[in-house]
Amino acid sequence: MKRLINLKRIEARRIFITYAIVTLAYIIFQVMSSAGLLSSSMRGMLVPICAYMVMAVSLNLVVGVLGELSLGHAGFMSVGAFSGVAAAVLMQNIIPIAALRLTAAMLVGAAFAALAGFLIGIPVLRLKGDYLAIVTLAFGEIIKSLLNNFYLGVDSGGLHFSMLTDNTRLLEGGRLIIRGPMGISGIQKIATFPAGFALTIIALAIVFNLVNSRMGRSFMAIRDDRIAAESVGIDITKYKMMAFVMSAAIAGAAGCLFAMNYSTIVANKFDFNTSILILVFVVLGGQGNMLGSIIAAAALTILPEKLRSFADYRMLLYAVVLIAVMLGTNNAGIKRFFDKLNPFNRFNNNNKDEDDEAGEAA
């Protein structure tokens, strides 16, 4: 019993620290930004960093908590981006306040991505392990191809859409919103850093509450031992689907936020490379470790920009840093060294075994 309470306290502290660090970072950057202390380069990256952090949290729910490898997460980001931006264009006259419009667009993006997650989940979640990973990869590519051939226009007669070629035949004054391979142009850039921060906190709140609920414990039971979980009556497909859809919805909102930060967006942006990039955030930050993946997302987005001064060598350096960090974080000696430095971990020396268990469970 005492062990359980201890475990809970460690878990609660971990969650509290995550919220605190994210909020603190937000306040620091917001103050620096308004005081003009941030370079244009940093200021321009604030919103994409938020979007990537949310993506990392979203994928961590599938990879870290549910224990299934998804290689097509950029697909959900894409669905959220396109549907969200289209919604924002349609609502331009209905909702004049930018922040409200952004919120509505993100909700639409999340809803469409959740729908995509549900549809894809039906065949995918009957698989497991490597098979599941490869099928998600295929679905990511399918989403990209579909959006590359999708045309959506609006005119006084309502919404029109067509596939392959533009057969929307818009009336005078109509606007073609999604233009196949040309994507969406002329997006109003309404994504802001505060909105990105709010989305990050919401995503964290959803995932943390989910993980510490009955549902989350079922996820982890499935991850740790599928057969044992099934034997105690956990409906595996149902719980996997829940995690998958929830993760897709969060990714959709992140995609919408990301797209609204640029004046143009194309489906090819959300390709296999983007999926892998997000997976790298998760693996580097630690599977199941939300704070870790958030920090990894921020660091790996800023790193290539900071390496610009190395010109042609920066790609090489980026890879070298990645390898060094991967090796470093998995080295027991270095881990112990950092644990000693960490003031929040001062109880760990007394409760070494509990902490280890918590680390494994998380």
């Binding site: 244009s40 380069s41 990256m45 994409p48 391979p181 040309m182 640029y262 004046s263 194309v266 610009r308």
Partner: protein, 376 residues
């Protein structure tokens, strides 16, 4: 001794002040894909611009440039990052971006920050649309499509036309759309309309068979030269020899490694730049480029070169000062570019409209004996 030192110092001050008066130095910068799949275009534009900057600085005229290019890997997100890095460096006039989608993203930033942009080669219409301070050195994609159809109809090259285009590419799609509209208007019959995409761009037998079966006399290829080179080779293998017609993306096919030039014999293309032109300026540029980089410059290099010279002309005419902010220069540049005429490697008597599109004559070229020859 102290007097002497003071005198020397004073002399130095006067000299440096004199230098500053003699030339105004401007920070000019752009983003380009220097790595990745589109790197040939980015590096060509960068190298062309670098040659122009070196020439201008060596000539010691009114204007001096400090050039900086940042890598955008042909990605809109990275392009905005690269643009911001240039802004931190203190860029005063911008060469925007080399490829279309990144340029669309950075053009919006140019507009918001009031930094004047002149893109060498981003040809999508959306780059300049609705922005009063972003201009293009190249044709807009839609213009290329309609100009090609016009050219084919005017010269009575064919009546039955086939089109093979890349349906996940902004450039190809932009040209295709207007070509088909204009062709219909002019009575050209598009008998075969086939597409390909990234990932299935190595086998064109289906597309070529379709064009052959439907009796197309001319095949229009709005695409870059790598897929075109495969199309030529595969058509030759199946004994299909229609007239071929390309656009400026075809430029560069003759310098492509391992390409049999005989395959491109009699291929026609519309391009603003011809590396074999006989005028002294083009020859000097080609010779210098070959000396530095060991290859014949393509259209992108010439566009980059022209952009820098256009800036030099506009900055000198408007008597802009190197100490001015980007926003002040932006106002001067808008006034200059909408009123001046510019002669460059990619066309004579170029003018710009208020919405930033360039007006210049496309040159019809045909490949004869492995070299471009003027069509007219």
């Amino acid at each position: 001794m102290r007097k002497l030192l003071a005198l020397a110092l004073a002399a130095m001050l006067v000299m440096s002040a004199a230098c500053a008066f003699a030339a105004e130095t401007f920070k000019i910068g752009g983003t380009a894909p220097l790595t990745g799949g589109a790197a040939i275009y980015g590096n060509a534009a960068k190298n062309g611009a670098q040659i122009a900057v070196d020439e201008i600085n060596a000539a010691g005229g009114y204007v001096k440039f400090d050039l900086r290019y940042e890598d955008d890997t042909h990605d809109a997100e990275k392009a905005v990052n690269a643009y911001n890095a240039l802004k931190d460096w203190g860029v005063q006039v911008s060469l925007s971006s080399v490829t279309s989608k990144p340029a669309e993203a950075t053009a919006a930033e140019n507009f918001a920050d009031r930094i004047f942009g002149l893109t060498p080669s981003a040809s999508a219409a959306a780059v300049t649309a609705g922005k009063d301070n972003v201009f293009q050195m190249c044709f807009v994609d839609p213009n290329q499509g309609s100009a090609s159809a016009q050219y084919i109809a005017d010269k009575k090259l064919a009546t039955k036309v086939a089109v093979i285009w890349k349906n996940d590419d902004v450039y190809s799609k932009g040209i295709y759309d207007t070509f088909v509209v204009k062709a219909k208007e002019l009575g050209l019959e598009v008998v075969s309309d086939m597409t390909f995409a990234d990932g299935n761009d190595t086998d064109f037998s289906v597309q070529l068979k379709d064009a052959q079966d439907k009796g197309a006399e001319l095949v229009f290829l709005p695409m870059y030269y790598q897929p075109a080179s495969l199309i030529f080779a595969q058509a030759a293998a199946m004994d299909y020899a229609p007239k071929w017609f390309g656009v400026d993306g075809m430029d560069g096919i003759l310098t492509m490694e391992g390409f049999d030039k005989a395959l491109a014999e009699c291929v026609m293309l519309l391009t603003p730049f011809n590396a074999d032109a006989k005028d002294a300026r083009t020859q000097n540029f080609v010779a210098e480029y070959q000396k530095r980089h060991g290859e014949v410059p393509n259209q992108f290099a010439a566009d980059g070169y022209d952009c820098v010279y256009a800036f030099a002309q506009a900055l000198e005419k408007s008597q802009a000062k190197g100490s001015m902010s980007a926003e002040e220069i932006c106002g001067l540049m808008i006034a200059q570019f909408t009123s001046m005429t510019f002669d460059g490697l990619t066309g004579a008597n170029m003018t710009w409209s208020k919405n930033g599109e360039v007006t210049k004559d496309p040159k019809g070229m045909v490949i004869k004996d492995g070299a471009y020859v003027g069509l007219d």
